[in-house]
């Protein structure tokens, strides 16, 4: 630390070089006659110019002190402005501080549309689960967190349904591959919710009924726009 603020360009003028130095390039000592691209250059090594570290310490303390004072005495920017990443102009002589923290449960920021949150299971028009227990998602799941035990049924021409559908949210790595793999839009991760904190590991396992209920909690439509059997527009469009 503090070893070198004037740095110099390390090897051949790229990497850690200063922008001005990069244009000038390294100091060339000699050029090979056989191959002009082979050159001997002067390597500027960082020098220990301040063995007492006092100058660097003073500089560093100045930076941290400035931030501390600004954040300690400044006013907090309004939560809405923070959430939108907006720069507001001060109306009084007390400046805004630079704290970007959002008080999470009370203030929420906008999540991107493709944010992968808690899983939810989609329903058909009659309220039954869309999953046909094809076993695509437990197969593709890299964390082996999905457990499906299929059962035979005979409804709407569908022959299979999950007797048991469980996701261990502690093992899930939130990769979203199950959603990609699902052929009938039965599992989605668009709830925008986080996995809930639990006190016992077993409580982190979400059952079929819990996964079906996530839609209600997240305020999302539990029914897919896709039609059964691949007719009509694909749900992703």
């Amino acid at each position: 630390m503090g070893a070198s603020t004037d740095g110099g360009h390390g090897h051949g003028g790229h990497g850690d070089a200063e922008p001005g130095d990069a244009a000038a390039g390294p100091t060339v000592i000699s050029v090979s006659k056989v191959s002009p691209r082979v050159r001997t250059i002067a390597v500027v090594r960082p020098t220990e110019h301040d063995v007492t570290y006092l100058e660097a310490t003073r500089k560093g303390l100045g930076v941290t002190l400035r931030h501390f004072m600004k954040n300690f005495f400044g006013r907090r920017r309004p939560a809405e402005a923070l959430a939108r990443g907006e720069v507001v102009t001060a109306k009084s002589f007390i400046p805004w501080n630079e704290i970007e923290t959002i008080q999470y449960p009370e203030e929420r920021t906008h999540y991107p549309e493709r944010f992968r949150g808690l899983h939810r299971l989609m329903q058909r028009d009659d309220g039954t689960v869309r999953c046909v227990a094809c076993m695509c998602c437990p197969t593709v799941c890299p964390a082996n967190c999905i457990t499906i035990i299929p059962a035979e049924i005979d409804e709407h021409g569908v022959e299979k349904a999950p007797a048991l559908f469980e996701i261990d949210e502690l093992r899930c790595v939130v990769c979203g591959l199950c959603v990609e793999a699902c052929p009938c839009d039965a599992i989605r991760m668009d709830s925008g919710m986080h996995a809930k904190p639990v006190e016992e590991r077993g409580h982190a396992i979400m059952t079929r009924e819990m996964l079906l209920g996530v839609s209600g909690e997240a305020g999302k439509d539990p029914k897919s726009t896709a039609t059964q059997g691949g007719e009509g527009p694909a749900w992703r469009e």
Binding site: M1, V51, T52
Partner: protein, 407 residues
């Protein structure tokens, strides 16, 4: 009443007062202050939500986090790995925290209070001329023990605290903990020399090792000891920088946290959990308070409030020697009752300690960690020679000052 004053003046009473009224609250609050301050320096908010379940609105900017920490540490599993040396494993945290608490005995945290003069204004001139007068029959000295060898006692006792870290590493039956303990002892040895030497100039200038005397005497006998220009920060500024650097290394915190190096290189208390670990943690923060108290006492006039003498605020005036004691007289005096003077001075000591603690936290969250070789170079090749040189300069200055009558 006589008995009451004797009890109040008893070292045990004063020690309990200083530990439970100053050290423990300050050290506990520092655990919160460190996280909040570091957050403020890094554009974050830091912990600000801990509140009791029955009063969720009682957040107090997160101050209660230290209570939550304490409850957590007490209720956590106290795990002792197999193969550890049980006796030393248990002894090590106590060795880390005990010496620091003992060392507080030498710190003067307030002026001498004369209970019979509490209802009026203290007359320093009368006190100097007749210390046995009826107003001064009983006295409560706000310092647990005033040894002539005061600060040497601090160096000696703090050396014992090193055994805490070293033994913790050795007793843990863990190679990384052992290496951490070795790093701890090597660092302590390197910096204790420079730390002791850096204060030599102060001792020479003031002519005493006793912190209480350093506070009441000041550097020069021509100025009142309450004058900030008479405090040693001005006269011994290089010593202040040297001592601050060495003492931060003694507290084993960044940029000198090689012994612990919590996230990257494993430290000596890796096998500790629960309250045993908490003791190491608390000892670190108590050391911060202690270092702040020493810096305050030696360099920033201890409990002195600027321009506040025993009888009130005095501007101008001059020093008179009466019966071997220097008393400031004359000048413009704003009379202040003895009770208020004492309260102001104890408060000033607390405030100065808090400010120095704040500065230590600022340093801790600004500088990155030194490499082991940089650490040793800084200690042996820079601090030690500089401290020696400064001792020589101070000695020559003292000689010249005595010859020409400067101070």
């Amino acid at each position: 009443m006589k008995t009451l004053y004797t009890v109040l003046d008893h070292p045990a009473t004063k020690w309990v007062f200083i530990v439970f009224a100053l050290v423990m609250p300050l050290a506990s609050l520092l655990t919160w202050a460190e996280r909040r301050q570091s957050a403020m320096m890094q554009d974050r908010l830091g912990p600000n939500r801990a509140a009791p379940t029955f009063a969720p609105w009682l957040k107090l900017k997160g101050i209660l986090h230290f209570v939550a920490d304490a409850i957590k540490m007490i209720s956590k599993e106290d795990f002792i790995p197999g193969n550890v040396h049980r006796g030393l494993f248990t002894l090590a945290p106590l060795l880390a925290i005990g010496p620091v608490l003992v060392a507080f005995a030498i710190i003067p945290f307030g002026p001498t209070i004369y209970p019979h003069a509490l209802d009026g204004t203290l007359d320093p001139l009368a006190l100097a001329q007749d210390p046995g007068g009826k107003d001064f029959l009983d006295s409560i000295r706000m310092q647990v023990a005033s040894f002539d060898y005061g600060l040497i006692f601090y160096f000696a006792v703090l050396t014992l605290a090193n055994y805490g870290g070293t033994l913790a590493g050795w007793a843990s039956y863990n190679k990384w903990a052992l290496l951490g303990g070795l790093r701890s002892s090597s660092q302590m040895m390197s910096y204790e020399v420079a730390m002791g030497l850096s204060l030599m100039g102060c001792f020479l200038l003031v002519g005493s090792l006793e912190p209480g005397y350093i506070v009441t005497a000041g550097a020069s006998s021509k100025l009142s000891p309450s004058n900030p220009l008479n405090w040693l920060w001005l006269w011994q500024f290089p010593a202040l920088i040297l001592f601050t650097t060495a003492s931060i290394a003694e507290t084993k915190r960044a940029p000198f946290d090689i012994p612990e190096g919590e996230p990257e290189i494993i430290g000596y208390f890796v096998e500790y959990s629960g309250l045993r670990w908490g003791l190491f943690f608390l000892a670190e923060f108590i050391e911060i308070v202690f270092v702040a108290a020493v810096i305050t006492t030696v360099f920033f006039g201890g409990w002195q409030v600027p321009f506040l003498d025993g009888d009130g605020f005095r501007f101008g005036g001059y020093m008179v020697e009466t019966n071997g004691q220097l008393v400031s007289t004359g000048g413009f005096v704003l009379k202040v009752p003895h009770a208020l003077v004492s309260a102001l001075q104890v408060g000033a000591f607390g405030l100065k300690v808090i400010l120095v603690c704040w500065f230590q936290l600022l340093v801790r969250w600004t500088l990155p960690r030194f490499r082991a070789d940089q650490l040793m170079n800084l200690g042996w090749k820079l601090l030690l020679p500089l401290a020696l040189a400064w001792t020589m300069v101070s000695a020559l200055f003292k000689l010249a000052a005595m010859y020409f009558g400067w101070v």
